[in-house]
């Protein structure tokens, strides 16, 4: 499979994520769109890793493995981020009784 398809696919996913972040006001949905963008990037990283593997497998049997490891670490960080982020959203909800990000432009309530 040509790498172009993967690139276009992940760009499309990424841009959908961006459009989501820009069009929604619900903090949770925005958060989900960020996860979507992360996944688009993960997909592309894996695709690149396989591409490099095909090119460099003759000299190095583990060529391209770094890309997948990066994906692994991104997932790790994303999991941590989500847990903290959701906690923050919950706290915000407690304070404001809303998940509308536009309420966040005021510093105190």
């Amino acid at each position: 499979m040509n790498i172009e398809y993967y690139i276009v696919l992940s760009i499309a996913l990424f841009c959908i994520g961006i459009a989501g972040v820009l069009t929604r006001r619900n903090a949770i949905i925005i958060f989900m769109c960020i996860e979507l963008m992360l996944n688009a990037v993960n997909l592309l990283l894996v695709a690149f890793s396989k591409m490099h593997h095909l090119k460099g497998v003759a000299t190095n049997p583990n060529a391209g493995i770094d890309g997948q490891l990066f994906v692994f670490f991104i997932m790790v960080v994303a999991a941590a981020e989500v847990s903290v982020g959701l906690a923050i959203i919950v706290m915000m909800y407690r304070n404001v009784h809303s998940v509308d990000v536009n309420f966040l432009n005021r510093l105190k309530h």
Binding site: V21, L22, R25, V101, N102, L104, N105
Partner: protein, 643 residues
């Protein structure tokens, strides 16, 4: 004994030490001590100068390297002193006359407060230091340092009584006019560095002499010499930059004697004499120098005819005599010009000091219309002043006759018209000097005796002894340059200075055969000038001893009394437009244009900040949107614009 030449650095160092001591301890030192230190250092310099002069007379010259001053690329300018015939002669004049004037000052300035008295002496010592640098430097850059130094001291000393606004203005005028000349000098130095790659006299003149044929009259040489001459016109008060010198009489009289008569104003002559080979190769510039010198001589002499301030007469007389020296330089009589510098230093210093003595006796009255009959009150001053007048008028065997005559003879050889104007000027010189003499010393005393309750009295010994010494020098000073006609081989000054001007002389003999005057002509010339001078003297004595001019001048005399309205002309042509321009720049350009621009920038930033602030809405969504747009812009630039 040649090692005495290596002590040359002591000569400027001593006055510098004096300057520091007097300047820094001016509140601690007593007046007597200040006077002793101030005069003593100059005496020390004089003694060393004398020793060096004796060495040089035996033919020992040297360039004494002190330290590396500027070294850039191929250009190296060492801080070194050149001891040769010309500089040693000037050393003698500066330190000798300087010492006498220091002694005189100690008495003349005794009314000043202690620290002002010390301030005066420290300035005077600093001046001598700078002047010595000027003549000792072995290259144009050191000369320039001294050149600026004397300009500074001139400013400080003219404005010595700084509480008087007029005096301050006079000091500023002197400084600014000198700066105009200095710029010319500086440009000349740059041009020399550019063209020859060296500013040391030795290297430079060797180079020039070696390629004399190719350089003769080229634009570069003419340009360099013209620029040097611009510097000289500023420092030596020639048309068009002479107006500062008469105003410089605002300073104390000994200052006028030392700086504005004997030494500093001859710096221009020294410079041109030093660069004689360059000038010899630039006949065009020589013509300009001669014409400017002659015009200045005549012009200043006419003004001096009608001045009523004793120091103003002497000031214009100085300008006029400097004009003579430049005429000498312009017609190639370098020795004559240097000779005249020397004799002029003697008799002009004498006349100024005499005037100072008169002013001192008259309780700071300088108007000669209020004097008269001082002969019986001030015998020594009167006698010395009379000798000075005779010397400047050019009566043999007094010093002025020999030096002036040498210049006039050379001028006759170059161009008859020069000689005619020169002789007319000489007549005027004799006339106005004896007008001054007669009005001041002869006739009846016209001062207000009842005001002070006692007659004017003779000055103390500290003032009269320098007068006597200078009078003796004025009488016999010319005997070192007795022309060939009167006494073969008696012109010892010419022989002495020969090494300095030898290259020029050789060159002139080779390329421009000079007119040799036969003896009859020379006798004729001398006779004519002396005759005119004698007539002028007797006319002046007859006219002014009994009935001095007391009224206001009328008609043409008024023009002369008002100095040809040159100051007014400069005011109208240069000062007023500059002030108008300054007003314009201040009023319109600065307030309306610059301020508006600067404030406008501030206002724009203010306004745009207020607009940009709206972007900081606190809305997360809009931030993200902007971020995306930014990324978008980056991509566009990266991929589409860069190509």
């Amino acid at each position: 004994m040649k090692n005495v030449l290596q002590l040359v650095w002591l000569i400027p160092l001593l006055p510098l030490i004096g300057f520091l001591i007097n300047g820094l301890l001016r509140r601690q030192l007593s007046k007597a001590l200040t006077g002793i230190i101030g005069s003593g250092v100059i005496l020390g310099s004089f003694v060393i100068s004398l020793l060096i002069f004796l060495q040089v007379k035996q033919g020992n010259t040297a360039v004494v390297d002190l330290f590396d001053f500027i070294s850039v690329g191929k250009l190296s300018i060492p801080f070194s002193f050149q001891v040769d015939q010309l500089s040693s002669l000037f050393l003698l004049i500066i330190t000798g006359v300087g010492f006498l004037i220091h002694v005189y000052s100690a008495a003349y300035m005794h009314e000043e407060e202690g620290h002002h008295f010390a301030r005066y002496f420290s300035y005077l010592n600093l001046f001598v230091f700078s002047m010595l640098l000027l003549v000792l430097g072995s290259n144009y850059v050191i000369m320039f340092i001294g050149w600026e130094g004397v300009g500074l001291c001139s400013y400080l000393l003219i404005g010595y009584w700084f509480k008087n606004t007029d005096y301050n203005n006079a000091a500023k005028k002197a400084f600014v006019m000198n700066r105009i000349g200095d710029l010319g000098f500086l440009l000349a130095i740059f041009w020399i560095i550019n063209k020859f790659g060296t500013v040391a006299y030795g290297d430079l003149f060797e180079q020039v002499a070696a390629s004399a044929k190719t350089l003769d009259g080229t634009a570069a040489i003419v340009g360099i010499t013209l620029l040097l001459f611009v510097g000289a016109t500023g420092k030596s008060a020639q048309i068009p930059l002479y107006t500062w010198l008469p105003d410089a009489m605002a300073g104390p009289t000994p200052v006028s004697a030392l700086i504005h008569a004997a030494t500093m104003v001859t710096a221009g002559i020294y410079m041109i004499a030093r660069s004689n080979i360059l000038y010899t190769l630039a006949p065009f510039t020589q013509g300009i120098v001669a014409i400017i010198g002659l015009a200045t001589a005549l012009f200043a002499a006419t003004i001096a005819l009608k001045q009523n301030d004793i120091k103003k007469v002497l000031a214009y007389s100085t300008v006029s005599q400097l004009g003579y020296m430049f005429l000498g330089l312009g017609v190639g009589a370098y020795t004559g010009a240097v000779f005249h510098v020397m004799t002029h230093a003697f008799f002009k210093a004498l006349l100024f000091l005499g005037a100072g003595s008169v002013i001192h006796a008259m309780h700071h009255e300088q108007d000669i219309r209020k004097m008269g009959g001082l002969k019986k009150y001030l015998p020594i001053t009167h006698l010395t002043f009379l000798l000075g007048c005779i010397a400047i008028a050019g009566i043999p065997p007094f010093s002025g006759f020999f030096s002036k005559d040498e210049i006039l003879a050379a001028a006759y050889g170059a161009n008859k018209i020069y000689w005619i104007i020169g002789v007319i000027t000489a007549g005027m010189t004799a006339f106005y000097m004896f007008r001054l003499y007669a009005t001041t010393f002869l006739g009846k005393f016209r001062g207000e005796e009842h005001l002070h309750g006692h007659h004017p009295h003779e000055s103390p010994a500290a003032m009269t002894i320098p007068l006597i010494v200078l009078a003796i020098l004025s009488v016999i000073g010319g005997w070192v340059g007795i022309p060939e006609v009167l006494m073969p081989n008696a012109h010892s000054l010419e022989h002495f200075l020969d090494p300095i001007f030898a290259e020029s002389g050789k060159y002139v003999h080779e390329f421009r055969p000079a007119h040799h005057l036969d003896h009859t002509t020379e006798y004729g010339l001398m006779g004519a000038s002396v005759g005119i001078a004698v007539i002028a003297i007797f006319y002046a004595l007859a006219r002014f001893s009994k009935r001095p001019e007391l009224g206001e001048p009328a008609g043409f005399g008024k023009v002369l009394a008002n100095k040809w309205y040159v100051d007014e002309l400069y005011n109208a042509i240069i000062v007023k437009p500059l002030q108008w321009l300054a007003k314009l720049l201040n009023g319109f350009v600065e307030k309306d244009v610059l301020d508006w621009t600067v404030n406008g920038i501030g206002r724009i930033i203010n306004y745009s900040s207020r607009q940009v602030r709206l972007l900081q809405s606190g809305q997360v969504g809009s931030y993200v949107l902007l971020m995306v747009l930014g990324i978008l812009a980056f991509f566009v630039i990266q991929f589409f614009v860069k190509k």
